[in-house]
Symmetry: C2
Subunit: 216 residues, 2 copies
């Protein structure tokens, strides 16, 4: 197992919800959830948050997790719902993702979609649009990663697909103290994964609880 | 503050002791403490431990801390007592440190000593032997680090010197559940640093408690 597939800094509510229903996602509401910043605010408060524009930020536990985001990562795989709110064939190729001219990935990114679209590069990140099942896409990403690990970025249905195919080596899921009641669920309970994974449960002073899983 | 000075993975007992009395240190007992592996065993159990020779190891909380060891580090400063048990002028320059032919630092290392000795390189690590006060040695290390951060490796009296000079930006101290009663102390209590630093206290399932400090 020389090239791991890793989920990093993935945020869910205390009831396991990571996004609103697919139809609630829009350009104005990427997560399709009200107050979604309550899910990922812990990361934005850290010194190493990739989108930080002002100096400062915490350098405690949460910062170890945000600065690990790029550690030995050579490629990312993401589902189409992480890439954007569009569904069906690409109608407007001017839309190039949520992340502006300097996406935080700085590696090849493989967007899973059955609708073809040419690759393009923004700063250090190149987006490729690929069809195929999880194992096939992972093969492509591993090759592009040139010996480094591969990050599985989400969204939640993509992570569930890769869990079902038993392809994920480690997961860091940050559970926030907020309850949504409805939306797209990663799990019914974090204990769902304990048949296949070891786990450390690490409460952070920021209020989130980090669940760190690695294969048995 | 673009180049931090960081203490990382420094281990103390629950009563703050990091090493035996200076005269107890020897080639056979680097820490001069009985059962010193109880202090650093948590790190050796992780997948990212630099000296790991066999596959396996945990990938939970403790592994985040060990794999952060080299993150954006461009140089290390260490006291002579971390480098070796010798005192006074160098009598045997064949002794080249505890770490074998591939020291885990992989950067320039500045060993603080008033006894001159030529620099030498082992694999990716070059050891320099420098006199000067903490601020002067830090200037040299920062220049060698070429924009990256600098690690302060220890031992305990060196860390105390740099704390007294108020030169340290972040500290990760792992407190192990073992009591020594006597030896060289980092602190009377981890609370000693709270006038100058924020702190996260993070208990690990491995039994150690990580104290993560960063400047106020």
């Amino acid at each position: 197992m020389s090239q791991l597939l890793k989920v990093q800094n993935f945020n869910v509510s205390s009831d396991g919800i990571a996004a609103g229903a697919s139809e609630a996602q829009s350009l104005e509401s990427p997560f399709g959830l009200p107050g979604a910043e309550r899910l990922f605010g812990w990361a934005g408060a850290t010194a190493s948050w990739p989108n930080r524009t002002e100096p400062g930020g915490s350098r405690g536990l949460d910062d170890y997790l945000t600065r690990d985001f790029t550690h030995n990562i050579g490629a990312e795989i993401m589902g189409r719902n992480k890439f954007g709110p569009q569904r069906g064939p690409w109608e407007n190729e001017d839309w190039r993702g949520w992340w502006g001219d300097e996406p935080p990935f700085r590696t090849p990114v493989f967007v899973m979609t059955h609708h073809p679209r040419p690759s393009y590069t923004l700063s250090d990140t190149t987006f490729h649009f690929v069809a195929g099942d999880p194992a096939e896409v992972l093969d492509q990403a591993r090759e592009a990663a040139q010996g480094k690990d591969v990050r599985l970025g989400g969204g939640v249905s993509t992570i569930r697909q890769f869990l079902a195919a038993d392809l994920i080596d480690t997961l860091h899921i940050a559970v926030a103290p907020v309850e949504y009641g409805s939306g797209v669920r990663l799990w019914n309970s974090p204990d769902d994964l304990l048949d296949r994974y070891h786990r450390d449960v690490v409460p952070s002073p920021s209020g989130v609880t980090h669940h760190l899983f690695w294969r048995k």
